[in-house]
């Protein structure tokens, strides 16, 4: 038996108030930690997918929609642009690298993107199994899809029209899987890649009323990802396109920071609320200790008469507060990971995005420091009072 064990026994002796303090702290910690986690994972994913893309060109519409559809592949495209116009932009001396994107079909909800080898360079893709496409109707499948749909090299499948599974299927033009990419931790993991010609081929001999895909003699693409020769071009060129052509240009880094700003207010509010809960948990620990001090004054006088020092008595209260806050912190971290698993599965089913980062983040060490600080502040007054306790007076008041 020692003072630390005594503190633990004391906590278990008043289980309900201990539990309340513990749960409050765990709730606050898990909320903050979950926000930090999601923020870091989402920003990581978003930035990872932004690498090498200075500008996106597509049909007129919402610039955010253009970015979301052609960089993150979550929204519907704004429309199509003519290949001729895209080519003329490509030839501009300011443009360093350009990657065409064509949409039209999906397989089991995963988008089929018609593009060229520059897409592979952009996302730094490598083949795990098989090879890249070199003929029409050959596809390379992202790692995540291959795992999820259990696709292997040599498998064939029929795509459905549009970006949802409910579209009309193109049964006469089946695609063959020729390669599966390595995991790249980018959006390419959840795409099915093929040549632009394949997408034209699927739709070329059909006539659709779909506005995204009405085929003129001229070929069309959906969007084009552009990297400039010089970072300075990002200032003039997007404006030039928006003003002088009937295309739309959008700068992803700008649109994404705008998006985060929109979310920011809500995130700040939740954050504030979570810190408030942590402070309330500190107050709850304080009240618990303060009340228990009165209940336990004879216990504590007994400890002193048995030879316990003032310091030992104070440290008993400090241990109680610290044990509560640290276990509340650990419980909170566990809850936040469970929350992330839950949110990740929601995102997976609606956006094909998953969040997987369960390690301890730097911000969480701060959170631990804050939790311990709250615990120390909560036990400050009670432990000083216990330190100063007049045992003679306590014992003669019986």
């Amino acid at each position: 038996m020692n003072i630390f064990k005594l503190s633990i026994k004391n906590l278990f002796y008043r289980p309900l108030s201990s539990l309340l303090s513990l749960l409050l702290l765990a709730l606050g910690v898990s909320m903050i930690s979950l926000l930090v986690l999601i923020n870091s994972v989402v920003q990581d994913q978003m930035n990872n997918n932004l690498k090498g893309i200075d500008m996106v060109v597509g049909a007129k519409g919402s610039p955010l929609q253009l970015i979301l559809s052609s960089v993150y592949h979550v929204d519907s495209p704004t429309g199509n642009i003519s290949l001729k116009e895209a080519r003329s932009i490509e030839k501009n001396p300011m443009v360093g690298n350009s990657v065409p994107l064509l949409y039209g079909d999906n397989y089991e909800g995963f988008r089929i993107v018609g593009t060229n080898e520059k897409f592979i360079e952009l996302y730094n893709l490598s083949i795990e199994n098989g090879s890249f496409w070199d003929d029409e109707f050959e596809v390379v499948v992202g790692k995540k899809i291959a795992t999820k749909l259990n696709l292997k090299v040599g498998d064939t499948f029929v795509t459905s029209h549009g970006l949802r599974q409910t579209g009309e299927s193109h049964a006469d033009t089946p695609f063959t899987v020729v390669g599966i990419t390595n995991f790249s931790n980018s959006v390419a993991d959840q795409l099915i890649l093929t040549s632009a010609e394949s997408v034209w081929g699927v739709h070329g001999d059909h006539t659709h009323d779909d506005e995204e895909h009405d085929h003129d003699d001229d070929k069309e693409i959906t969007a084009m990802l552009i990297k400039f020769n010089s970072p300075m071009n990002v200032i003039q060129f997007p404006r030039y396109i928006n003003e002088n052509t009937n295309l739309q240009s959008a700068v992803p880094s700008y649109e994404i920071s705008r998006l985060f700003k929109l979310f920011g207010f809500g995130i700040e509010t939740i954050n504030l609320l979570a810190y408030l809960i942590i402070v309330v948990s500190g107050i709850s620990i304080f009240i618990t200790l303060f009340n228990s001090m009165k209940e336990r004054k004879y216990d504590m006088a007994l400890i002193r008469t048995l030879g316990g020092s003032r310091l030992q008595l104070s440290s008993m209260l400090v241990y109680e507060a610290i044990v509560l806050t640290i276990s509340g912190f650990i419980l909170g971290i566990i809850l936040s990971r469970l929350g992330l698993v839950f949110i990740s599965s929601l995102m997976e089913s609606s956006f094909n995005y998953s969040l997987n980062s369960y390690g301890i983040l730097n911000d969480e060490f701060w959170l631990l420091a804050i939790s311990i600080l709250i615990g120390l502040m909560a036990c400050l007054i009670p432990s000083i009072q216990v330190y100063k306790m007049d045992i003679s007076k306590t014992l003669s008041n019986e």
Binding site: N2, N10, R296, Y298, D299, S309, R310, I391
Partner: protein, 207 residues
């Protein structure tokens, strides 16, 4: 051996308690008797090192404690003094066994007695694993005696141990205290207003 000389104490600096000198040889017990408000508990706290005297000396088993610092007094109490309170006190979150273990922990320099043997001699060894509030009043008092004995003190101080007991139990408790003190080679000082106890002690001191 317990010796006090011209012991004075004051709570507020105005009203002074003057205590008669105590001179007790090894192996002797003492009954200090007096009415309420006369400073009985104050004297007990002085002897236990819970209070420090304003002047005078207190010598317990050859240790002069009147000039001790707080930390020295804590250690002195743990090693040399066992207190039996009027109303028994415990650490309520701990079992009887753990209460005794904690007492041993708080006085590490002392080779302490065997908890089981002490409980056995008090006829409560079956309460080992129980919490204090599962015990009857009589059992509680026995356990509090065990707590006072566990670190083999040189001096056992009992504060009104019999005031709420009937004649029969009064005799029992005081006999038990005397027997335990003798068995543990400790001196016993009982402080009380209970005149029934006079017949049990050779040495009486009226305050």
């Amino acid at each position: 051996m317990i010796k006090t000389e011209s012991l004075k104490f004051s709570y507020d600096g105005r009203k002074y308690f003057d205590f008669p000198d105590i001179n007790l040889d090894t192996g002797e017990n003492l009954l200090i008797i007096g009415n309420s408000g006369i400073g009985k508990t104050t004297l007990l706290h002085l002897l236990a090192g819970i209070l420090k005297p304003k002047s005078g000396s207190i010598n317990v088993s050859g240790i002069e404690i009147s000039k001790f610092s707080d930390t020295e007094l804590d250690k002195f109490r743990g090693d040399n003094i066992g207190i039996v309170f009027q109303r028994p006190h415990f650490i309520y979150s701990l079992t009887i066994n753990e209460n005794l273990k904690l007492a041993q922990y708080l006085s590490p320099s002392k080779t302490s007695g065997d908890a089981e043997k002490i409980l056995e001699s008090l006829n409560i060894n079956d309460k080992y694993q129980q919490k204090p509030n599962q015990l009857s009043e009589g059992e509680k008092q026995r356990v509090s005696i065990a707590l006072a004995l566990i670190n083999s003190p040189n001096l056992i101080l009992a504060d009104e141990p019999t005031s709420s007991l009937d004649d029969f139990n009064c005799d029992n408790v005081i006999k038990l205290l005397k027997k335990q003190a003798k068995d543990h080679k400790a001196q016993l000082i009982v402080i009380t207003h209970d005149a029934r106890l006079k017949k049990h002690f050779k040495n009486n001191l009226n305050l």
